[in-house]
Amino acid sequence: MEMKEDQELYYYLKLTREFEDRVSKLHRQGKILGGVYSGKGQEAIVVGVCYGLHREDFISPIHRDMGAFLVKGVDPKLLMAQLFGKKTGLSKGKDSFLHAGDLERGIFGATSMLASTLPVATGAALKFKMKKEPHVAIAFFGEGASSRGDFHEALNFAGIHKLPVIYICENNFYAYSTPQNQQMAVEDVALRAEGYGFKGAVCSGNDLHAVMRTTHAAIDRARQGEGPTLVECKTYRYHGHSEHDQPFYRPQEELIEWESRDPIQRFEIYLEKKGYNVDQIKEETERQVKEVTDEAVRFAEESPWPEGKEALEDLYADPF
């Protein structure tokens, strides 16, 4: 990979991590209210998948996918305002956290009903196929969501029509407190692809290069009309399900093991092996992402709240 690419990828990994850490802190300070769902530890997946996507490519991120918004080009200030519930946020304060989208950048806002976005992304891919557009749709979901009927309905339909859609399972082994072995009787969610007539692939979600290699090959196939792929990225969330959750249900040893496979440190080792001056790049990038995040927080804090009566707006094209 070229130096510019390496540095950009590192920047997005670090920016996402900085955002995650800052958001957790702001939540503890009572500045960000409601549910906060940290994706710390999983950043390489969204960064790797979204890096290089076109503006028109459709993605449906879920609650831990902060980096998807950043890589897809959402202004960090507007993203932070969204998390604060301010009028300047993507949803204008209508919903919390990442329940917002930016269709101008091909980002579809999720609901809390995980897996419900899978049929929607499938419909976006249907549109691309109908209109012979060279774009792809990408649906992110967790291993827990794969238990829902929408997973089956979406993948089945995509297989029939060979749609340009990639289903990215971020398998972090726990759906809230429920471990994978209470969620399914198989080890790999990706195995299920066979039942829908297309390819499944498994990769390490903590290895940015593995994510990029696997998902970009799937994206290329989809663009060439070769149909969908189910990619499973194995990963781990460092925090609980939400910031309110103390994850007593999983062993401390497990967390330590996964922290030792941290996706960002791993990428730093790669940069070092490649002969870059890592200390310098790290220092410079950390300064940059801190600046961007500080500015975003400042913007969010200074932004106005919506007025109460705005709760009645944005329901219909023509209000009645």
């Binding site: 989208g101 579809f108 976005t117 049929p119 549109k127 929408d150 339909f157 329901l315 094209a317």
Partner: protein
């Protein structure tokens, strides 16, 4: 040549697909079969499999995929083979579609129609007779359309397809081939949210929609002949938006209101209509607001059971005469 209610629906979709290449169909058996009720007969031949999609039995996918295409500028028409089956897509409708514009801060929209045959009276039994409108009536972000005539079925469906919000279009299957009328040759729409006064009167107001328009009109005729009462009959045509002004104006004039719908009494839209009339027209009222609706049970199959459950002319007459005596 007169056009039936089902043909009016067929023609509305056909003409809109001719007019706008972003309009497309998806649903169970809409292609090769032409729909369980033949609403889309000939569409596959005319528009091809790309725009007339026979889906697997997967209502959540049908609605979800329609949403995904709609946010990117398409205008899908998703068919529920029977409106009863819409329950399988409930999450996609009330959480995904209804909140979509809202949670995107007004910067996204989902122009789609979900149509389906609703209603009883054809021995459909528990799962082919339901009137699902009240399951959706309290959900902001949705529109609900309930045509009673062939003219409206065509004009309202065209308006729904051109609308920029998700529309639930509940056709009454009892009417499909039982009513017909001459329709204009030229393109027309019936705007959503405008009720029709089907019969003018000064003594009492009947508020109804969909198939119940016909027993309501028949009862009104008899009340005029047998009791000398002049009943105004309002056909709401759409429930969201609901034409409150027309309702209030009529009740202020007549001082008496009967609400007639085929949906069940408890939790049916009649309850909300009655409450709003009391809030807005209390001083004008000269008697209780009464409802004629299906009994609070399931739409049973056996003919005596179904007949017992559904509203009819006699039931409307009985309630109206009690009210008239106030």
């Amino acid at each position: 040549m007169p056009t039936t209610y089902i043909k009016a629906i067929h023609d509305a979709m056909f003409e809109e697909m001719k007019r706008d290449e972003n309009v497309f169909l998806l649903g169970e058996d809409v292609g090769i079969l032409g729909g369980a009720f033949k609403a889309t007969e000939g569409f596959l031949q005319e528009f091809g499999a790309e725009r007339v999609i026979d889906t697997p039995i997967a209502e959540s996918l049908i609605v979800g995929a329609a949403i995904g295409a709609a946010v990117l500028g398409m205008r899908p028409i998703a068919e529920m083979q029977f409106a009863d089956f819409i329950s399988c897509a409930y999450d996609q409708i009330i959480n995904m579609a209804a909140t979509l514009r809202y949670r995107h801060g007004g910067r996204a929209q989902v122009p789609m129609v979900i149509r389906g045959p609703s209603g009883a009276g054809v021995h459909g039994g528990l799962f082919h007779s339901q009137n699902p409108e009240s399951y959706f009536f309290s959900v902001p972000g949705l529109k609900i359309v309930t045509p009673a005539t062939a003219y409206d079925a065509k004009g309202l469906l065209k308006a729904s397809i051109r609308d920029n919000d998700p529309v639930l279009f509940f056709e009454h299957k009892y009417l499909y081939r039982r009513i017909q009328e001459e329709l204009p040759e030229e393109d027309y729409i019936v705007p959503l949210g405008k009720a029709a006064i089907r019969r003018e009167g000064s003594d009492m107001t009947f508020i109804t929609y969909s198939a119940m328009l016909y027993p309501s009109l028949a009862a009104a005729e008899r009340l005029e002949k047998e009791d000398g009462l002049h009943v105004e009959v309002i056909d709401l045509r759409s429930l969201r938006p609901l034409d409150w002004e027309t309702v209030f104006q009529s009740v202020r004039k007549t001082s008496k209101a009967v609400i007639i719908h085929e949906d069940r009494r408890t939790g049916g839209v009649g309850g909300e209509i009655a409450a709003r009339i009391v809030e807005e027209c209390f001083d004008s009222l000269d008697g209780p607001i009464v409802r004629v609706a299906s009994e609070d049970t399931h739409y049973a199959f056996s003919p005596p059971l179904e007949e017992f459950i559904l509203p009819n002319v006699d039931k409307i007459l009985a309630k109206a005469r009690t009210l008239a005596a106030y």
